[in-house]
Subunit: 206 residues, 2 copies
DNA sequence: GTCTATAATTCGATAGAC
DNA sequence: GTCTATCGAATTATAGAC
């Protein structure tokens, strides 16, 4: 289910600035976002922004880490849960991503851009490859229940099928000539379909 | 096969500027690219840039339309060829995309960003949905040779599996801990694998 | 066509009053 | 903490010589 965004009526000045910065940075990226716009959006003064956060860079770094955190948040928990099975984890991962992206549609492009512009800042803690999920994957292949697939491909396929449509949303809506509601319905369909597709891909030459 | 990038030793000043602009805009986006950098990269003077192209915006627009063109280029031909079959077209599409992206790895993020920032500029001519490919798809489903899949999903899946890894390249290389050569080999593998996967997805409940 | 020099504007950051 | 006013650097664009 879609988790409602933290409304948290924290109307402190600091939070108002962060909220405005989150909105603008995530939507337009670092360079295209002007500190004056953030201040206006936050309903405060430009000087105040530098009072709370030393510089534009510092503020950006905070928002970026927040977004990266959301992006990877939960994944680690899902992927290391020893009580859920291999295919079930794929369902949970896909559901988690699509649910989050329906609420925060600009995060994917933001993260992809940031990863390219500043690869140093990518968090190391995302050790998908040492996860319990991977252990289960190895076991499934060993038992012959699924065919072997380079883990890199598996990862790309899960993320790509779940995330790509959101990154390409304007193109998808334009080419298919659908409105926002129809797009969201299409994405909800994918919650069920993507895991089925992944399963089918893993059944080739089983 | 990978088509070598048009080297075209057109050393005219105009082409030198366009070439430099293409490189920088595509890699860093509009705001982060400075006209001074373009001039330096082109080995010419800043004033000359404004002499040939009226403004930074005008120059950007030219590069953008070029990139969008490359992105969609060839697809229309592949997709409307009446001599190739349904599954063969998928192979050709995937091969085409991956080959191009191995040469121009920054184009996907550029196009996705531009599509979001300026959806008005998306070319209308990309009528994938009225293509011969779609006609063949309908025929295949009618004959029961493949299962029905919402054409939107089919399009997203083909593009996502081919394009997403390039947009997410830094993350993929970081998480998998692979170098450029290994990444490119992984992508070459996908030329064969993606069409097989798509086929498997279309075989569910056939 | 190409250059140097500079105008005009934008932008991040700070000084200083309240 | 919050504001107004402004500085200084960066950046786009243009004027004018060659």
């Amino acid at each position: 289910m879609v988790v409602a965004q933290k409304i948290k009526a924290d109307d402190s000045t600091e939070e108002k600035i962060k909220s405005a910065a989150r909105k603008l940075f995530t939507k337009k990226g670092f360079s295209a976002t002007k500190t004056r716009d953030i201040a206006t959006e936050a309903g405060i003064n430009l000087a105040l922004l530098n009072y709370y956060f030393r510089s534009k860079e510092k503020l950006f770094e905070i928002i970026m880490l927040e977004n990266l955190g959301h992006f990877f948040q939960g994944v680690s928990i899902i992927v290391n849960d020893e009580k859920t099975g291999f295919h079930n984890k794929i369902e949970l991962l896909v559901d988690f991503y699509i649910s989050r992206l329906l609420v925060n549609p600009d995060v994917p492009l933001f993260v992809l851009n940031e990863a390219r512009n500043n690869p140093k800042n990518l968090p190391l803690q995302f050790n998908l490859m040492n996860s319990y999920f991977m252990k289960q994957y190895m076991e499934e292949t060993k038992m012959g229940r699924i065919s072997k697939m380079n883990p890199g491909h598996l990862m790309i396929n899960i993320l790509g099928l779940a995330i790509f449509p959101f990154a390409a949303r304007p193109m998808v809506q334009r080419i298919r000539n659908i409105n926002d509601t129809e797009f969201e319905e299409l994405m909800l369909e994918r919650k069920k379909l993507v895991p089925q597709w992944i399963k089918a891909m893993l059944d080739i030459n089983k």
